[in-house]
Symmetry: C2
Subunit: 478 residues, 2 copies
């Protein structure tokens, strides 16, 4: 993002006016389109609102933009020699289509994090840079010589990576499979997208956990699915709830995150796992098992996946590198019956023509390398350390105002705020004080819950982050 140059002899408002005029002339803001509000632009550029007011006044004087009370500031149509019908009504196009926008809370969080790099980040569900194998990947990239062709990839994904995953799944997840049952995807997100778009039909009912990461994903609504919820307690979902949802709504699929569930951290109880598979098999229902966190189990003994005890292939298993290595690689995988993998691979060709070979090769080399196992050990130790820092800080700062169950794996702590609180006010007050998190309602819970991610912030920020949060909470409570 362009920012004005404070050392320039040209005034800030004139620099801003010049930059906007340039952008308008390039078509970034076509005639008739809405410009950012003065407040928002000032925030983006890191200047006073009065500076933006001056810049807009300058452009108005030149006839380049026009402001009308109540409808904001727009690029002038007449200046550019076009009448209203002459430029595409981009607003109408942008409002069209079947993809719902992301939730306002999530858009707000993304915006704040993009603009303010000093924000203490308990919101982003990803690893801090010192938890990612950045150095190892650098070394592998240097060794990583392409002797073969950099052409379009196999629609199911890079064969050597699928072959490495066969060993990985057997060794680490007790899942036996072959490379032809694996589809490489752009993280778990693309697996879920392909399943919701290609295996289900608008109007279909599906079951998700309550609360659930899935609830935060507009893709379910974008696909026209009806969501029904399975309450999660300390032992995960209750299998009998599936039977009653099936009777009432004829659900077509179950989405489960059984190991260190996002956001609650719950682990599905071993007996319930067997019961869940029995119910699914009795009803002929597929289970989508999303398993991104297992290998973060702090004691080094990850819970077994449903897929490893699934004798009849009811489970579509989803894994990813995002939470155990680096989200920026965008490498995930799905293990599924061959007919499903083939169908989804074919559909994916329409969407993006497959993934880049480059990160797939890096991922394959990383899995095969002697770096992988030590990295996992280090990751677990660091996560445990950060979890404990967070818990200590919460207990110190807010001993009587919050309650939580201590997670045994994963990146998140699910925290209940005991007194009644307005989620939006708490979030905005926290942002004002320099700390950000995800309100629990994003995941479909009642208000008054917070998801703290302790993996993203630096260890030395956790204490002060919670202290800022505590101040914000006390601020909105009184």
């Amino acid at each position: 993002m362009w920012k004005p140059d404070r050392s320039s002899s040209k005034s800030l408002y004139q620099q801003i006016a010049d930059d906007l005029e340039r952008r308008i002339s390039y078509g970034e803001f076509p005639p008739g389109s809405l410009l950012p509000s003065e407040r928002k632009l000032a925030e983006q550029l890191g200047v006073n609102r009065s500076t933006v007011i001056l810049a807009y006044a300058e452009l108005r004087a030149l006839g380049i933009i026009e402001s009308h009370t109540g409808s904001g500031t727009r690029v002038s149509k007449y200046k550019w020699g076009v009448t209203p019908t002459h430029t595409p009504n981009w607003h109408r196009y942008v409002e069209g289509g079947s993809f719902l926008p992301n939730l306002p809370f999530l858009r707000r969080i993304r915006e704040v994090l993009q603009q303010d790099k000093s924000m203490i980040d308990f919101a982003s569900g990803e690893l801090a840079s010192d938890l990612s194998p950045v150095e190892e990947i650098n070394i592998l990239m240097g060794e990583n010589h392409y002797t073969e062709y950099l052409g379009y990839d196999n629609p199911q994904g890079f064969v050597p990576l699928r072959e490495e995953l066969v060993s990985y799944l057997s060794q680490y997840r007790d899942i036996r499979t072959t490379e032809s049952s694996i589809l490489i995807t752009s993280g778990s997100q693309q697996s879920l997208f392909l399943i919701t778009q290609c295996l289900l039909t608008p109007g279909d009912a599906v079951a998700i956990e309550d609360p659930s990461y899935c609830y935060s994903l507009p893709m379910f609504q974008s696909a026209g699915l009806r969501l029904f919820r399975l309450p999660v307690d300390d032992k995960g979902v209750r299998p009998e709830d599936i039977r009653s949802l099936y009777k009432k709504h004829r659900i077509k699929m179950i989405f489960i995150n059984p190991n260190f569930q996002n956001p609650t951290g719950a682990v599905l109880d071993a007996d319930r796992r067997i019961e869940l598979l029995d119910v699914a098999s009795e009803l002929g229902l597929p289970i989508v098992e999303d398993d991104p966190f297992s290998l973060t189990a702090y004691d080094g003994s990850p819970p077994q996946p449903l897929k490893s005890i699934d004798p009849i292939g009811s489970v579509l298993y989803i894994g990813s590198f995002s939470k155990i290595a680096a989200s920026g690689l965008r490498i995930g995988w799905m293990v599924a019956p061959h007919s499903v993998v083939e169908r989804l691979a074919d559909a994916r060709q329409q969407m993006d023509f497959g993934l880049s070979v480059v990160p797939q090769r890096v991922a394959a080399q990383f899995l095969k390398s002697h770096y992988f196992q030590p990295h996992l050990g280090r990751l677990r130790t660091h996560l445990l350390y950060k979890r404990d820092l967070l818990i200590e800080a919460l207990q110190h700062e807010l001993p009587d105002l919050v309650s939580f169950t201590i997670p045994q794996g994963g990146l998140h702590l699910w925290c209940k705020i005991i007194p009644e609180v307005n989620d939006n006010k708490l979030l905005e007050e926290s942002i004002r004080r320099g700390v950000i998190f995800v309100p629990g309602s994003v995941y479909g819970s009642d208000s008054g819950y917070v998801r703290f991610t302790f993996a993203r912030a630096r260890a030395d920020e956790i204490r002060s982050g919670i202290s800022k949060f505590a101040a914000a909470l006390r601020g909105v409570l009184c």
Copy 2:
């Protein structure tokens, strides 16, 4: 793909039976699912059909599979202790969803190319490995040290790559833009997918060229769009046709590939460009300009893009590295008004959570490096050489049976077969003889056209490929 080991002491059929039993036990072929036909499996494994018949007989004897006349061979349900209702009806799920499968011709071509590496490939619309900057990319990857974090990327794409593209677009395509008007996508394909899914509504009418690459993309039908065609002559589409399509069908968008059009190679005439923009602006219609081939212009003077003479931002401009560097990088870009870029970036988060940073960084370094410009020069020279080899071969082998216009850029030659011919028979006979191409009907043309890609095959294969094609053509004509 697993293949039996011919040096093993275990018989081929027994190896195949063991492998299938293993796959079935892993859930790759769940109870009740259909196994490949004997013919198809034999083709995949490179064995005689009789070997597969023996393997299936072995599994049938063990009760693992069952065959019923007319319904193929399926995994037995009873062996696995489940009744039909107990396993998800994968067939029904796979048939659901809104994504249409790829065209049968294209699926067939992909299958053949995956199975037979010796096939002379005039079908794949991509560069041969010696035309891709594989060595340069190796060097850059080695230098390419990540000092920063490998986290989730900015939703619009990696900022340094967008900044490099601002210079690239100005220098090579005469397009002035800023990094905030650019969206990085997984090739042109993802740009088109985002536009059709997010800016248009099912039932909307759009105009595409006839013949057109777009016609081969089921994504248009998957998005529920009605396609209307603009005939392409030697000078490209005729702008007045747009006015009449608009009157009749209220088209909402125009998709154009003005420079070395795929498949015809046509270049849109300069006067028609201006007229086209005038018509679009008069009707308030956006133009999607797909521009993957311009920099292959053999004379080194690529035609100007519409975007560079678009004063009011009607053009959504799409570019890509696939046809000028390496398709396996999966790097493309769109230049569009800011509101459009923002909307598409937000929707893309739902689909794949953005692109991997790794190939984006490689692409940025390649653009900035001193390798880029010499690579383009070498690419043009090689393509021209291969084009001439193809033309000579056609003139030598089939002087009276084909006609074509000589393309001045791009990877394809669009060839009319003068006598009447059955497309499917010609394709199958060519495959049998070891050469493959794309029948023109895939792009919506009448039967009797062939798209030859001369960029993918090795130079020393072109002559013999055309000689095999000529034999196939003479074979199906008599």
